[in-house]
């Protein structure tokens, strides 16, 4: 075992050593607990890093400094934010359903953390490695809608209620193209296990699924739907802090609000992790000559790049209108995801050279045709009609 390999396997061997210290009867429990604690610790740290990256990055992209007061270059800003959130008053509305109001943020964070358990973060670094990993991920992802509804209902506030319904409508709408974008991967690799999906992609970057005719489009669809699914800008209109009264978050303050905030980031990281697993080769290095670098390094490097793209998009694009949001999901991405499934089927059953031409012939005209439909019947440069305003 070389030094690089031992670094690569360090998390695994550390866990084995810790488990070995305990009596055999509780080893199974300790193994699960250690995985859980490790996931929470690593991703909570990453949450702080992502928040800092977002605030600094957004600032620079908007020609400001961003936070630069707390600690050197403002690096301790997440700590200050955390302390502020912890010591703020926790307000519960008088008529709120106390139990639901408390449970909603907890039940939002828990599945987001649970989703990390099936992501392969390195060679042999999957907390739960079983055959239905992908299915489990989507099942867990779907359960977050319930806690959003709990938040809206438990607050006993009509604005929260409407806001939560709006959020649920968005999440359910985008779940469809999201899952349909993942289906071609399952179709081509023939497995639902995340470990085997990573293994099916080679150790060279042109062997990854993003460089296949069906994968390139599926990745873009997946990324856009991931933005919508994690309520990130430009699809953050359930919250829309600058326009609405924050939707289902209206009645939350203090640490419960921080939990929602945390859940948003965990969700973003989990879905980015899945995008890496499905399309970007998981923990594998882009070139075989680089494969001596530990797998977990590549996973987290790719994760930070994807989070950076999320931040970049947030700094750039304005928020969509509710009907535009629904149009984009149902009239654009859903038919295209289905068409992409056809492309994937063609790729699976025909010689390799047919793949790219078939994808271009099928997808490019459809993207432009459906894009034109999205614009509506209004001619370019014509007068905008406000249906409900006049």
């Amino acid at each position: 075992m070389t030094i690089w390999e031992s670094i690569d396997q360090a998390p695994v061997s550390l866990k084995h050593w810790l488990v070995g210290l305990l009596p055999a009867a509780v080893q199974w429990l300790a193994s699960i607990m250690i995985s859980g604690v490790a996931i929470i610790a690593v991703f909570a740290t990453l949450f702080a890093v992502a928040v800092l990256l977002e605030r600094k990055g957004l600032g620079r992209m908007q020609n400001r400094y961003g936070p630069n007061r707390v600690g050197p270059w403002g690096l301790l800003q997440p700590v200050a934010d955390g302390i502020k959130m912890l010591i703020k008053e926790d307000i519960v509305p008088h008529q709120a359903d106390k139990v639901l109001h408390l449970l909603a943020p907890v039940l939002l964070v828990a599945p987001a953390l649970l989703a990390f358990s099936v992501l392969p973060m390195g060679r042999g670094l999957t907390a739960i490695d079983f055959d239905l990993g992908l299915l489990l991920f989507f099942a867990i992802g779907a359960s977050t809608e319930l806690s959003v509804f709990m938040a809206g209902w438990g607050s006993h506030n009509k604005y929260s209620m409407l806001g939560s319904l709006r959020a649920i409508a968005q999440m359910i709408s985008y779940e469809l193209p999201l899952i349909l974008a993942a289906v071609p991967v399952v179709l081509l690799t023939g497995t639902l296990s995340t470990d085997q999906i990573v293994a099916a992609q080679g150790s060279m970057f042109w062997q990854w699924h993003i460089c296949t005719p069906w994968g390139a489009f599926a990745f873009v669809t997946f990324l856009v739907c991931a933005l919508a699914e994690s309520n990130r800008s430009p699809f953050d209109l359930p919250e829309a802090e600058s326009e609405l009264i924050a939707g289902h978050l209206t009645e939350y303050s203090g640490f419960k609000y921080a939990l929602f905030f945390m859940a948003e980031y965990f969700g973003m990281m989990a879905i980015s992790g899945l995008a890496i697993t499905l399309f970007l080769g998981g923990w594998q290095a882009p070139l075989p000559s680089l494969s001596f670098v530990p797998g977990w390094f590549w996973f987290f490097a790719k994760l930070l790049v994807l989070i950076w793209i999320f931040i970049w998009v947030r700094a750039t694009l304005p928020r969509l209108r509710a009907d535009q949001l629904m149009d984009l999901a149902w009239k654009f991405f859903l038919p295209l995801a289905l068409l992409n499934l056809v492309v994937a089927a063609i790729c699976a059953k025909t010689p390799a050279w047919i793949g790219w031409p078939a994808a271009l012939v099928l997808l490019v005209p459809s993207v432009f045709g459906l894009g034109r439909l999205l614009r509506g019947t209004r001619p370019r440069g014509g007068k905008r009609i406000y249906q409900y305003a006049e």
């Binding site: 990055g57 620079r60 992209m61 908007q62 020609n63 400001r64 400094y65 970049w312 998009v313 700094a315 750039t316 694009l317 993207v367 432009f368 894009g371 034109r372």
Partner: protein, 205 residues
């Protein structure tokens, strides 16, 4: 084409990101406040202050305690008590001049109505206090500021005011002189009058 707008936008934000590091002076608009401060415009105004001439804030105070500003102040934040001498006669000087900054809305009406160019608008903005009741009531001593200070914050306006005051002073001096001359003349005239005066009343004999 579909999506080009998005790509253009992404390119622009990326340009901003790089630009803030390469040319910070051009890109970054932030003023790092407690260390850096923007230079204030001359017409920037916050709270009122009282102008005094010369070196003594008490003696040189232009205020005559006429109470016009106190009456005109929309939120009623000014309190004036005129100084009286032993006989209860007004000394044309304020004994108490308080401005409650918690109430003041920085409208500048007091400065507009003041006929003696005594009350003017200041440009200080760091006026927080530990005690939000007593600490925010500024007394005559805190409000009195020299004419030099007025010149330093609002040179144009202060010069104009000085010119006007000097002109008024000149006119007042002239009219006083004229009056004095007239009075002197009048004082002389009655002395000559009886001799020169005809006696129209006296009936013809």
């Amino acid at each position: 084409m579909l999506g080009t707008g998005i790509l253009k936008g992404l390119a622009q934000t990326a340009l901003n990101l790089v630009g803030t590091f390469r040319k910070p002076a051009e890109r970054l608009v932030t003023v790092q406040y407690p260390e850096q401060k923007i230079t204030l415009k001359e017409n920037f105004r916050t709270i009122p202050f009282l102008v005094y001439d010369g070196d003594d804030p008490e003696k040189g105070l232009r205020c005559t305690a006429c109470k016009i500003c106190e009456k005109e102040c929309p939120p009623q934040c000014i309190l004036i008590e005129p100084l009286r001498d032993a006989n209860g006669k007004l000394a044309k000087h304020p004994k108490v001049f308080d401005v409650d900054l918690a109430i003041c809305m920085n409208c500048g009406i007091c400065a507009e109505v003041c006929p003696f160019d005594s009350i003017k608008m200041d440009s200080v903005y760091e006026i927080t206090a530990d005690d939000r009741f007593a600490g925010l009531i500024h007394h005559k001593e805190q409000l009195s500021k020299s004419n030099e200070y007025y010149h330093s914050i609002k040179p144009t306006e202060a010069t104009e005011v000085d010119g006007r005051l000097a002109e008024e002073q000149r006119k007042a001096d002239e009219s006083a002189k004229a009056k004095a001359a007239k009075a002197a003349a009048a004082a002389k005239a009655p002395a000559m009058k009886p001799a020169a005066a005809p006696t129209p009343e006296s009936p013809a004999p």
